[in-house]
Symmetry: C2
Subunit: 218 residues, 2 copies
Amino acid sequence: MSDRPIRVLVADDQTVVREGIVMLLGLLPGIEVVGAAADGEEAVRLVERYGPDVVLMDLRMPRCDGVEATRRIRTAHPATEVVVLTTYADDESLFPALQAGARGYLTKDAGGEEIARAIADVRSGAAGLSPQVQRRLLERLSAAPAGPAELPDGLTAREAEVLALIADGLSNTEIAQQLFVSPATVKTHINNLFAKTAVRDRAQAVAYAFRHGIRRNS
Amino acid sequence: MSDRPIRVLVADDQTVVREGIVMLLGLLPGIEVVGAAADGEEAVRLVERYGPDVVLMDLRMPRCDGVEATRRIRTAHPATEVVVLTTYADDESLFPALQAGARGYLTKDAGGEEIARAIADVRSGAAGLSPQVQRRLLERLSAAPAGPAELPDGLTAREAEVLALIADGLSNTEIAQQLFVSPATVKTHINNLFAKTAVRDRAQAVAYAFRHGIRRNS
DNA sequence: GGGGCTCTCCACCTGCGGGTGGAGAGCCCC
DNA sequence: GGGGCTCTCCACCCGCAGGTGGAGAGCCCC
């Protein structure tokens, strides 16, 4: 896979943790620790100086936090990959970090072997996410398109149906034909759902429908 | 982690592959193969009969393909997890399978150890995705919200701007005020972008904007 | 039975949205 | 300089969308 060692930079504000990780990584074959940073700004600086292959990044750091540091590193040095290694894997930390460009995400209960594997995976162009993080990603993936979607704002089923057809771009008469009712009925439903959803016209209604995941067959 | 063995069902239409996997899994400690199916329908039936912990599922199968089988299994038996094991990891296979409820996704070049790890991860409530698949997920994650977003259908920047404001629910006069131009200009832009995007009215335009990710500041 | 909700329908009015045709100014590129 | 593109603006017309007020029928629940 790799004949030359993977050059790694460690960024963590807690000295004990930082030095411990450096020690741990130093023992692993195929990994060379080229530097250690105590905050985000230093991490960015050291990346510019040493050009490491992978940065092992803590998220909660003073001055410039891990997400911001990740973003800067990824935009300025796309060849340097970032693996986040943090204590908790809450959504507020996780998704911003991943969107900032982190390719790996591990919690600190990961063992040395896991860290090494994630570093190697990331270096080889893949990704190194802990299984728990993978699961979060899947949930987010299926959350948006699946959308079980309760009807919000007290919409009736009929009103939601009309709203879905509006979002499909149908005119009032077309909706009437589709639902086998009179155009007047459609207008009534529309006026009611406009009032309930606090929108002014069908354009805003379409936006509302998209935001609330109201589509046909729902 | 688990004192009792993980009960696994294998689904693959190619006999050699199926039996090979069964053999391979049988050698692994902590895994018990409870059945093998040659197509999707049989997989669903065998899941109902044996209630396995995990189904190792090929995607391309006759009668009822793996995606459909996964969906049925996950809705009817939420306790049974599905790990996809297929030859290629193209997007057309990958995302439908994950959205159908697969918690694991491996390609067939994975070794026995990898498969075992994925099965164990999935069983413990996490997820078992190959590093390549993880990377795809990350790309999709940052593709949607980031949205570098080329302007489709030859829209000009100004037209896209107007379209974004339409999607925000603004009226023509409001858009005119926002852009410091005359309402007539707004109407011109709107008529042009309607023609280019082949929409009929602003309701359809809003849907178009949402589908193409045209929002403000883009 | 009475009250409340939903779905259905009607008439009327206003105005914004959408369509057409035309035109001038600034820009870039050949 | 000429041609093409974009952005800007105007006038005119029409129709559907949106707002109001009202009403009858079916349903469920107290």
